[in-house]
């Protein structure tokens, strides 16, 4: 029996070594937790910062929209029919009168002035709406699942 006890004692780790392992494990866990918390805080802070800048940009969009409306109306003011007629008159132009000599020509390939089309017709194909690549939206778990469970690109290509 004594031999057994001695044998066990010889191969049993010293108590201080066990304590050291426990402390080490605790510290590793603590560091991991701190790391996760740090990453979480960093991501949250960046998300909040980007969210705040998006809010700012939306506000800017409103300002720019109003600015555009102002500019477009100002442009219409300075190119209004009344103003343009006055400017043309000051430059020495006058409306075509009856009896004025007008020469009409056939210009090959010329098509008459067509009414304005400001936006594309609904039937025309438009560039697709910009969308974020999945890299920006997938979670860590999604990424892992994709990498672990789904076949790699070369395998996909090898499929018949």
């Amino acid at each position: 029996m004594n031999d057994v006890q001695r044998f066990t004692q010889v191969y049993t780790q010293a108590p201080w070594r066990k304590q050291l392992q426990m402390i080490g494990l605790f510290l590793v866990l603590l560091i991991l937790a701190a790391l996760v918390a740090g990453i979480y805080l960093s991501v949250s802070a960046r998300t909040a910062e980007i969210g705040r800048s998006i809010q700012g940009m939306r506000y800017q969009i409103e300002i720019i929209k109003r600015g555009n409306a102002d500019l477009s109306t100002q442009l219409a003011d300075i190119t209004s029919d009344e103003v343009m007629r006055k400017r043309a008159s000051e430059l020495g132009f006058h409306p075509l009168e009856t009896g004025d000599e007008v020469l009409y020509l056939i210009v090959p390939g010329y098509s008459d002035r067509q009414p304005v089309n400001i936006e594309p017709a609904p039937s025309l194909a438009l560039p697709s709406n910009p969308s974020l690549p999945s890299d920006y939206t997938q979670s860590l778990l999604d990424w892992l699942r994709e990498r672990v469970f789904e076949p790699a690109a070369p395998l996909l290509e090898a499929k018949p």
Binding site: A76, E82, T98, V102
Partner: protein
């Protein structure tokens, strides 16, 4: 050693547990206390706020993209009552710069700050220029008096400027009767602004706007109002408005209307009526449009058109086979129908005529005979097919249907057939006449007049399509009546003729009914015409109300038609007939 330190660990543990216990107790107490809701409300109040997002009103453009109705930034001026230092300075500045009433502003700004009185509006729709002046004053006062500790020092502290959009009409009076206007509450009145108010205004949304940047994606996009591209040509509109003003001066007419339409597509190229209104100062509406003047007489006022209506009577008779262009008629100067004796416009007898002569001399007696020969059933069926007495469906607010009495109506008599034949006893709007006559100018196909060419919504442009409202007469009849009317103008050497271009048309002079019958000497002078006759590209309707220089349409309205067409052929790039034929042969 162990027992030596154990009491310290025990004490520390008890202390920390007690603190944790009290913290938990306090948390539970706060959660269940009567003030809990107050705290929750305060908390949620800082997480965002309800906001009504009003989308920018859609623009209105002419067919070439010229802006007819847009938006400009104006400001709501308000005060944060907690920040107000000197109400008197604010009231003075608002009075001097914006023109606000001093006492009203002073009373508003002097209110003490409380939970119910945080912010007050003292002026709205303040222009950028005035807002900049107020900001400059505020800055100058801060520099000049900012260091003083005197409580009553001049200060504009507390003033807040909140931008928003307001309707603006760069062309002022141009096409005002077509556009209508928008009041400060954002509601459209008259014309396109009223007809398409819901589309133009978009859908304002009241939303909870979260201040939490992590919820920024939850804010939905509020689409802008739909923009409209009209069929109107700004240059044509300007020309016909100018011609109308001159015509009113020269003829002494009370009011006038000119409508220009493409008879093949129904696109209204110009529509001028009087009076006009500078849409940027729409509050003068009540002074300018004295009751009951319609905002746009082309669609909202019916009248007895007189002899221009004869083109429809003759078209009906030709199409139904009642007469042919060479059918003879002996004009004795009188024709009795339903117990009423019809006379010619000059009271004379014009002797032997054919149908061309009847139109050329605008003989009431002949046309009454033609209508009686057509028969009431056919006549009124055709008139209804021409859209008389019905709305045309033009996309403008306030259209009225006019009145066509029909056999079977309580107030219809057989004599009405005779008077209706030359445009008396029947009321129409100019736009109805334009639509009806489009059948004559367009090989029998009558097109619905339209003002909106396309709509722009969410980055896509949706074009409206020409609509055929019916085919009241055959192409053969349409060509025959066009030829007759063109010849009659040429034989008469009408003032409506345009050098180099063959046009068809008809004058009209209508007596104006009063409550006691046709007792007034005043007339409505009209002219309807289209051209070039081989390929009609314009249809022009002219109506002058109560001209004083001459009562006759042939004298006052026909020259206006000519002036309009002289400008149209230039603006629409229509070469003279001979040149056009040569160019076509060259191709």
């Amino acid at each position: 050693m162990k027992s030596e330190h154990s009491w310290r660990y025990l004490t520390l543990g008890i202390l920390l547990s007690t603190m944790a216990f009290f913290i938990i107790v306090q948390m539970v107490r706060i959660q269940v206390s009567p003030q809990a809701q107050v705290f929750r409300d305060r908390g949620s109040a800082n997480t965002g706020g309800w906001q009504t997002i009003v989308p920018p009103r859609g623009e209105i453009l002419d067919r070439w993209g010229h802006l007819l109705a847009g938006n400009i930034t104006v400001y709501e001026v308000g005060v944060e009552l907690a920040d107000v230092r000197n109400p008197s300075t604010i009231a003075m500045a608002m009075n001097a710069v914006v023109g606000s009433n001093y006492d009203d502003v002073f009373a508003t700004v002097s209110q003490p700050y409380s939970e119910k009185a945080i912010y007050r509006v003292i002026a709205d729709f303040v222009s950028e220029e005035k807002k900049s002046r107020l900001e400059q004053l505020k800055e100058e006062m801060d520099i000049a008096y900012g260091d003083q500790k005197d409580k009553n020092r001049p200060s504009l502290s507390g003033l807040i400027f909140t931008p928003h959009l307001q309707r603006s009409y760069p062309e002022k009076e141009l096409a005002s009767n077509i556009l209508g206007f928008v009041n400060r509450e954002g509601k459209g009145y008259f014309g396109v602004e009223e007809k398409f108010n819901d589309l133009l205004a978009g859908t304002p949304q009241t939303l909870w706007i979260s201040a939490d940047p992590n919820r920024v994606e939850e804010l939905p996009k509020v689409p802008d109002g739909v923009s409209l591209v009209l069929t109107i040509d700004r240059a044509i509109q300007s020309e016909i408005q100018s011609i109308l003003q001159t015509a009113l001066k020269e003829s002494g007419a009370e009011a006038g209307t000119i409508v220009v339409m493409d008879p093949q597509t129904g696109e209204i190229l110009g529509m001028a009526t009087t009076p006009l209104l500078d849409l940027n100062e729409y509050w003068h509406y009540n002074e300018i449009f004295e009751n009951p003047t319609p905002f746009n007489k082309a669609v909202s006022q019916s009248y007895e058109p007189g002899s221009v209506f004869k083109v429809l009577t003759m078209a009906t008779a030709l199409d139904s086979g009642a007469v042919k262009p060479d059918t003879p008629f002996l004009d004795t100067g009188v024709f009795e129908i339903g117990g009423v004796v019809i006379h010619n416009w000059d009271g004379g007898a014009w002797g032997p005529q054919d149908m061309l002569g009847c139109l050329q001399h605008s003989l009431n007696v002949c046309l009454a005979w033609v209508a009686s020969k057509t028969g009431a059933n056919f006549f009124y069926k055709y008139m209804q097919d021409f859209g008389i007495g019905h709305l045309t469906g033009v996309d403008l607010a306030g259209e009225v249907p006019g009145r066509l009495k029909l056999p079977g109506d309580g107030d219809w008599y057989e004599a009405d057939l005779g008077t209706n034949a030359f445009g008396q006893g029947v009321s129409v709007t100019p736009i109805q006449m334009v639509m009806a006559v489009s059948a004559l100018a367009n090989d029998g196909k009558m097109v619905t007049p339209r003002i909106v060419r396309s709509m722009i919504d969410k980055g896509r442009e949706y074009n409206t399509q020409p609509q055929v409202a019916g085919m009241p007469i055959s192409p053969k009849t349409a060509r025959a009546i066009t030829k007759m009317l063109a010849s009659s103008l040429e034989i008469e050497s009408s003032d409506a003729l345009i050098e180099g271009y063959r046009v068809a048309g008809k004058t009209g002079t209508a007596e104006i009914p009063t409550p006691f019958g046709y007792t007034s000497n005043a007339t409505n002078a009209s002219f309807v015409g289209w051209g070039p006759v081989d390929d009609p590209q314009f249809l022009v309707y002219v109506w002058l109300e109560k001209p004083t220089s001459s009562p006759w349409g042939s004298v006052v309205a026909a020259p206006v038609f000519r002036e309009v067409v002289e400008r149209l052929v230039v603006l629409l790039n229509i070469p003279p007939d001979k040149v056009r034929q040569r160019l076509l042969e060259g191709q």
